[in-house]
Symmetry: C2
Subunit: 168 residues, 2 copies
DNA sequence: TTGTCTGCAAACACTTTGCACTTTT
DNA sequence: AAAAGTGCAAAGTGTTTGCAGACAA
């Protein structure tokens, strides 16, 4: 269950649609624009929440038209979308979670270990710290990931006795 | 290859040795103090770098005396040590990496995607940000993890053409 | 036509589990 | 003696790969 913040598009200048950008990516790599890849980018672009490969696969299978793709293809295409800069990948509770990266401002997450919700936030200060630390160690920072784990307010108010699966 | 910062012990008040603390943990849980568990805590306590389960297993097998433990036992004991607050677990490039947590100050990491070195650093500001964000979302923060990925200075100077396995 | 892509099944890496036997308490 | 722990082998999970047929360029 992912809680997506509503980003006002326009915060970051986006020249192309994700679809266009992916097509360009494929072309420059000599890769082909197949029905499966199109289906996947399309679907992902229309769902702005966090998801994993299995969820995506299941969603595709639910679509009426036979517009499906196999598991290997889903995995392969997700990797390509990460390479193309459309998606970001992170590992939570043992499996890869994807989120939109293209046209979205940098942000980090609060992760509720009880209901597994991901709450997005962003902090300019954090970016400053990141750069300060990096330069201190002569390190070239390419990206960072901050995940604050804990329990969200709704899980705390409804003190569910449900098992605390503190899988991070 | 892990780069461990040399922490001046005493920064954090430590009442018991890790070994003692683990024993206490086992007792309060009705668990037994077996030869294997002793061997593992002992070994881990004497090696203050980051490591994974396979490394530990291999190290144990190298020891002269038959003081070994099976793979399942190593995994089981590592989990217990995390529960006991002796170790912290994080996932990098697909597998679990452990580091000492007991008696060590909170810190975060710079992760070199080229040589996979982990460089530790700590920042008070970061803790402040974490708490500020958490309270803003009525979230109870239990822990956080910041990993800044990029390329370390030595990997950059020796511009190795080696494959960039940007597995994070 | 040519070379990439797909889907299948099988392989993978890492980790966990069922179970009979061994140990600690 | 009773209960928990161990090791083995086997099963899981999530993900990747070899390969023959399918398809975009």
């Amino acid at each position: 269950m992912a809680i997506a913040a509503d980003f006002s598009l326009g915060t970051v200048a986006v020249a192309m649609t994700p679809h266009e950008r992916f097509t360009e990516f494929l072309q420059t790599r000599g890769k082909r624009s197949t029905r499966q890849r199109q289906t996947i980018v399309e679907h992902v672009s229309n769902h702005h929440e966090h998801f994993d490969a299995e969820q995506l696969l299941a969603d595709l299978r639910k679509t009426p038209g036979g517009a499906r793709a196999s598991r290997p293809t889903v995995y392969r295409t997700l990797t390509e979308m990460v390479d193309a800069g459309l998606l970001k990948k992170m590992i939570l509770a043992g499996r890869a979670i994807y989120e939109h990266d293209y046209g979205y401002p940098q942000h980090d997450h609060l992760y509720c270990t009880s209901c597994r919700a991901l709450i997005e936030f962003s902090s300019d200060e954090l970016t400053r710290i990141r750069d300060a630390v990096a330069s201190q160690y002569s390190f070239r920072a390419q990206s960072h990931r901050l995940i604050i784990s804990g329990v969200c307010s709704s899980c705390r108010s409804s003190r569910s006795k449900s098992r605390h699966q503190d899988r991070v």
